[in-house]
């Protein structure tokens, strides 16, 4: 099962290596890791998507908490958060296919950010499921390159009120 962990850390150099080092050291499997500064410039948030069972995620949480500059660890429960991933997708696109790809982009709410004679680059920010749909649709045209940021997540206030 996939778990999304939201980790607040002190914004110091070296903290990310302490966190990422933990995964190899304790043999945890992670799908993605995204890091960025929060509304407080002294604090960064690391969003981790990990694969495992309950035991693994409990251990992961506890071991993360042991790292001194880690301030808070939360495992987000399904349905209580919004998650997004930003991706840039470069597709092969000779002139005669331009319209097809533009239609797919429009349909999926992706933005065309670059066009060349033979390629088109799409910017897409959505959930993992929708990312997979988009790449399925684009694959027949020939995906040249994909760049992904890893998932970021925020808790829904609307879910917390319930």
């Amino acid at each position: 099962m996939k778990y999304t962990l939201s980790v607040l850390v002190e914004n110091h150099p070296g903290v990310l290596s302490k966190v990422s080092g933990l995964f190899s050291r304790r043999a945890f499997n992670i799908d993605s890791l995204a890091v960025g500064i929060t509304e407080d410039p002294n604090i960064s948030r690391i969003t981790i998507v990990a694969d495992g069972d309950e035991y693994v995620v409990e251990q992961l949480e506890k071991q993360l908490n042991k790292i001194i500059p880690v301030i808070k660890v939360r495992t987000l429960s399904p349905g209580t958060f919004i998650s997004r991933e930003l991706s840039l997708i470069k597709v092969s696109c000779p002139a005669k296919q331009r319209l097809d790809i533009m239609k797919i982009a429009e349909l999926m709410d992706a933005k065309i950010v670059d066009v060349s004679i033979n390629t088109m680059t799409l910017q897409f920010a959505d959930t993992l499921e929708r990312f997979e749909t988009l790449t399925d649709l684009l694959r027949p045209y020939g995906i040249r390159e994909i760049v992904r940021t890893g998932t970021v997540a925020i808790e829904k206030d609307s879910a917390l009120r319930k």
Partner: protein, 539 residues
């Protein structure tokens, strides 16, 4: 103006450091230079790993923070094994390393090593200090982190220009405020209540005492708890010394190399109370079997240890001394007599039997007798290998301590640890027991012992093999002794004498005891070599 080196020394003074272990080099020279102007004693070891081990022995003997210092690159790298050894056994250490000039960092200059990176997984925390003004805060935090919660080593890497750099004045912070580090100390009242209920329902309880009881200084509370309840006690290797060895309530060390009676007790219990024990694989090889028939109450200061290796019915996170205090306030339980009798019977039935070979010292009975002859508060330092198991199972501890590398199993630990222990507790008997393999990993410290005139007694169990692996090869590798014969070199007696240390070699228990009596009367160091038959097994 005040230099970084002076600040470092003043920080150590503020923390009450009296003594440290070290090995200098170019980029830690400013620090040692200023240290010379203070009352803090610097003990020169003969290799940096031993600085960390000696600091560990010192820290354990005084329940304080041990300090070890090395230079950059190879000095720091040599210290890693010592740091990792302390980390596994939760020993509070401050490891200070010199580092190349900060503007040269990352350029692979002479003796540069990324020591904070290399130590990442072996330290509780680490600092690479980038400017002189940070030093007081870093030292204050480092000592706090090393000594509180679950103790452990903290590394402070200080580039040489940070040591020579100057700031206006020195001010040591009064308090530490790390928003992300607040170890919990009290057990949760609800969990305490649940634990008391679970204990009251138990017919066959056992307590497994680990190093955490000693680390938290909970020994008196622990004794009160077991005396009031009558619950039988087994211990992990790190927990040896919590109970006097001859206490009828104490069954012995558990685990793959422990006492059979201790393992049987745990496997027949209906409740296992883990006190500051992390259920290492050597202590409990099959935790799943235990939880099939027993409830588990796990008390530990480190929440990550609870549930890591064994499923837990009731987790209690907190300092052992406080949690035991909380339990003692309300406990009203007596262990059923049938269970106590059953445990006592197992203990009688599975007494270990000495293996006598003519012309050799029998190590198990010799250790039992030797440990009975020493001061009641003696500190026994066991190395790693068969000698460790002989000591763990046969040492007759009364009010003494047992130091060994329990988690990491680092060969060569006992001699430097004994150096640290003796400097910490000069009035106590300090004995290091090692094998001829492990002794050769740190026998260079005989020089430290000789120069510092330390009354440390070293027992070398000499069976001319790497005994523990030899035994493994006997059991699982068709007695093919690949690369485990260490032969009869060197002549340890002559070696010790070359350092000006008295030494003798014994080939029977009578002879060994005769030398032991003589050496214990003297206030000088002694190396007693005991010829042991290589067929002697660890258990």
């Amino acid at each position: 103006m005040i230099s970084g080196a002076e600040i470092m020394v003043k920080c150590l003074e503020k923390e009450g450091v009296k003594l440290l272990f070290g090995y200098p080099g170019a980029v830690i020279c400013p620090f040692f230079d200023k240290l010379g102007e203070t009352d803090i004693k610097a003990v020169l070891v003969r290799q940096e790993q031993n600085a960390a081990h000696a600091a560990s022995g010192y820290a354990r003997a005084l329940s304080t923070v041990g300090v070890c210092v090395a230079t950059s690159g190879p000095g720091a790298l040599n210290m890693i094994t010592g740091i990792a050894t302390a980390y596994m056994d939760s020993i509070p250490l401050i490891a200070i390393t010199g580092q190349v000039k900060s503007d040269l960092l990352g350029r692979d200059v002479f003796q540069e090593a990324d020591i904070t990176g290399a130590c990442e997984s072996f330290v509780k925390h680490s600092y690479l200090v980038k400017n002189t003004a940070e030093l007081p805060k870093v030292f204050k935090e480092a000592f706090h982190i090393a000594s509180t919660g679950r103790p452990g080593p903290v590394l402070i890497d200080v580039p040489v220009d940070v040591q020579t750099g100057e700031v206006e004045s020195f001010e040591y912070p009064e308090k530490v405020n790390i928003i992300s580090y607040k170890p919990s100390v009290q057990g949760h009242p609800m969990q305490i209540k649940r634990a008391l209920e679970m204990i009251s329902e138990s017919k066959k309880p056992v307590i497994c005492a680990g190093g955490g009881v000693l680390t938290s200084g909970a020994k008196p509370k622990f004794r009160e708890f077991i005396e009031r309840t009558g619950i039988p006690v087994v211990s992990t290797m790190m927990g040896i010394g919590i109970m006097p060895s001859d206490d009828p309530q104490y069954v012995g060390m558990l685990g793959s190399h422990g006492r059979k009676a201790a393992n049987i007790t745990v496997h027949n219990a209906d409740l296992v109370i883990l006190c500051g024990a992390r259920v290492g694989d050597r202590a409990v090889a099959s935790p799943d079997q235990v939880v099939e028939h027993a409830n588990v109450i796990h008390i530990d200061i480190d929440p990550a240890e609870i549930g890591k290796n064994m499923k837990t019915s009731i987790p209690i996170v907190g300092d052992m001394r406080n949690v035991l205090g909380q339990l003692l306030k309300e406990i009203n339980y007596t262990t059923p007599d049938e269970w106590k009798q059953q445990v006592a019977e197992w203990k009688r039935e599975y007494e270990p039997v000495p293996q006598i070979f003519d012309g050799y010292v029998e190590p198990k009975s010799f250790i039992a007798e030797l440990s009975g002859m020493v001061h009641s508060k003696a500190i026994m330092c066991a190395d790693v290998g068969q000698n460790q198991i002989w000591c763990a199972n046969n040492c007759r501890l009364r009010d003494g301590r047992f130091f060994t590398s329990g988690g990491m199993g680092t060969m060569g630990y006992s001699v430097p640890a004994a150096v640290g222990a003796k400097l910490a507790r000069p009035s106590r008997d300090v004995i290091a027991v090692c094998g001829d393999g492990s002794f050769q990993m740190s026998m260079n410290e005989l020089a430290t012992i000789a120069v510092e005139k330390l009354n440390v007694k070293i027992i070398v169990m000499r069976n001319t093999t790497l005994g523990m692996v030899h035994e493994l090869q006997d059991k699982f590798y068709g007695s093919r002794y690949e690369v485990t014969e260490i032969h009869d070199v060197p002549d340890f007696v002559k070696l010790a004498q070359s350092y000006g240390i008295d030494s003798a070699c014994a080939s029977s228990n009578e002879e060994a005891l005769k030398y032991a009596r003589e050496m214990l009367k003297s206030d000088k160091p002694f190396v007693l070599v005991c010829n042991v038959n290589p067929k002697t097994t660890s258990v």
